[in-house]
């Protein structure tokens, strides 16, 4: 899917939010500036969660309360630390009651769930983006 503007990236996030339910794991991949946080802002809007969705880089994980809570994680710094246990992040929310969106999560957090949705974001020379959505596991293939 082609996304020409930040607004379109957010709109795509809002659409995506409509298909998500509690316990879903979404992994966002793509280079710096690909639109991972913008997409998550759209997902947050779609889920109707509280608080502004901003970059989780500094705190690594942030919880947004809502009818369906959003846990927003930046796994970049956990990629090299050898292992990842989301318990270490002290996320104050039951992960199976929330939608968990992990930026830079590819190859790191798949084991958290038997299914996940991967969204690959690519940035092109004309500043447009392409989003590729891949569903993995029984939740997305049955």
């Amino acid at each position: 899917m082609k996304l020409t503007t930040v607004e379109e990236t957010k709109a795509f996030g809002r659409d995506l939010a409509g298909r998500l339910r509690a316990g879903d794991l979404v992994i966002l991949s793509g280079p710096l500036g690909a639109g991972k946080t913008a997409l998550t802002q759209g997902i947050g809007e779609g889920l109707g969660v509280a608080g502004r969705v901003t970059s989780p880089t500094f705190v690594i994980a942030r919880v947004h309360r809502g009818p369906l809570p959003l846990v927003h994680v930046d796994a970049y710094r956990l990629r090299d630390s050898g292992r990842l246990d989301l318990d270490d992040l002290e996320i104050d929310e039951e992960l199976d009651r929330a939608v968990v969106v992990v930026e830079w999560g590819e190859g790191v957090v798949e084991q958290l769930s038997d299914s996940h949705l991967e969204v690959r974001l690519e940035r092109h020379d004309d500043d447009s983006r392409t989003a590729t959505v891949i569903g993995v596991g029984p939740r997305w293939t049955s």
């Binding site: 500036g33 946080t37 502004r52 500094f58 690594i60």
Partner: protein, 337 residues
């Protein structure tokens, strides 16, 4: 005159400061930044462990420097939020233990308010109301300070990346390592700030919010498209100029709109030499008095917590309960938990 010990552990610095009546007696800091450098940023678990190891030695070092003993203390202040949950917990637990053992009042204070309060140690009482701009790896906030012992009013913040985070990410793009702030500042000195017209996110937006995500992307795009060796100094200088132009423009506008003639800049990014220079220049032009603490007091430290604790004792503010929690998302309006 009360003697206040302040503890700061919200991120990667274990800081212990001792203040008596607006005079800084000791400011001991142990940093775990070297341990985080290989991860390209602070790792919460690593930070928590480092705090645990450094906590008591750092307190002892501060007491020694100040030439006082634990029994001389009159109050304990500690950053209870916002920050990394596990890191905060170490400082809060230590502060509670000292307060309980020594039978002293305990103040769980807001990290951002402490960044505002620290300037009193260097420049004397801050005339209120003032505008405070706090810029660091985790924060980019414009605040109206009417009384730092009561509440801070948020005017604006970043809608995406924090200012310091933008420095870290651009440094990552250029392969300059972590943390990005000091190295970008240094490399920028040999570069032309007008070489590349990078965007100033939300400069013309009527709010006091700022955005650095588009700028980061613009730098990434420019670097990718550039043929031949990257002119690192020019990229650093032009990127840095975009950040400080936006920050100072918004801060000056906030001062004008609010009819305030004192601007305080704090947080790690306040150590940036170009931010200091441009803020100085623009404040002078606008008739605004600029106050920026020296770099060692801008980055996270225990002195700022002790300085705020000292003000709170002085103002007769009620201490926090001993079951004080660490609150990673402590709202800026709340000065004492």
């Amino acid at each position: 005159m009360p003697l206040v010990l302040g503890i700061e552990t919200s991120c990667d610095e274990t800081g212990v400061g001792i203040v008596r009546d607006r005079v800084l007696l000791a400011d001991a800091v142990a940093s775990s930044v070297d341990e985080h450098a290989r991860f390209g940023g602070v790792v919460p678990e690593v930070a928590s462990r480092a705090h645990l190891e450094a906590m008591i030695p750092t307190v002892q070092r501060a007491l020694q420097t100040a030439g006082v003993t634990l029994n001389d203390l009159d109050a304990i202040a500690v950053t209870s939020g916002p920050g990394l949950a596990g890191a905060l917990l170490v400082g809060v637990a230590a502060a509670k233990a000292y307060a309980l053992a020594l039978d002293l009042p305990l103040y769980g204070v807001n990290h951002l308010a402490a960044h505002v309060a620290v300037d009193v140690l260097e420049h004397g009482p801050l005339p209120e109301p003032a505008i405070a701009m706090l810029v660091s790896g985790g924060h980019s906030s414009l605040l109206l300070v009417e009384d730092v012992t009561k509440t801070l009013l948020p005017l604006g913040q970043t809608v995406d990346d924090a200012a310091g985070e933008a420095f870290d990410k651009v440094a990552r793009l250029l392969g300059l390592g972590f943390p990005g702030g000091p190295v970008v500042d240094r490399r920028a000195r040999d570069g032309d700030p007008r070489a590349i017209p990078f965007p100033r996110g939300m400069l013309t937006d009527p709010s006091y919010d700022v955005s650095f995500s588009g700028l980061k992307t613009a730098v990434a795009r420019w670097v990718e498209k550039h043929a031949g060796p990257i002119p690192v100094a020019d990229v650093c200088a032009s990127f840095q100029e975009a950040v400080v132009d936006l920050l100072t423009a918004k801060a000056i506008r906030a001062c004008r709109d609010q009819g305030v003639d004192h601007l305080l800049i704090g947080g790690g990014v306040a150590a940036n030499s170009r931010l200091r220079a441009l803020a100085e220049e623009r404040c002078a032009k606008a008739g605004i008095v600029l106050r920026v603490p020296r770099p060692g007091l801008c980055t996270d430290n225990g002195a700022m917590v002790a300085a705020l604790g000292d003000r709170l004792v002085d103002a007769g503010v009620a201490p926090s309960p001993l079951d004080l929690p660490a609150d990673s998302a402590m709202p800026v309006e709340l000065v004492v938990a």
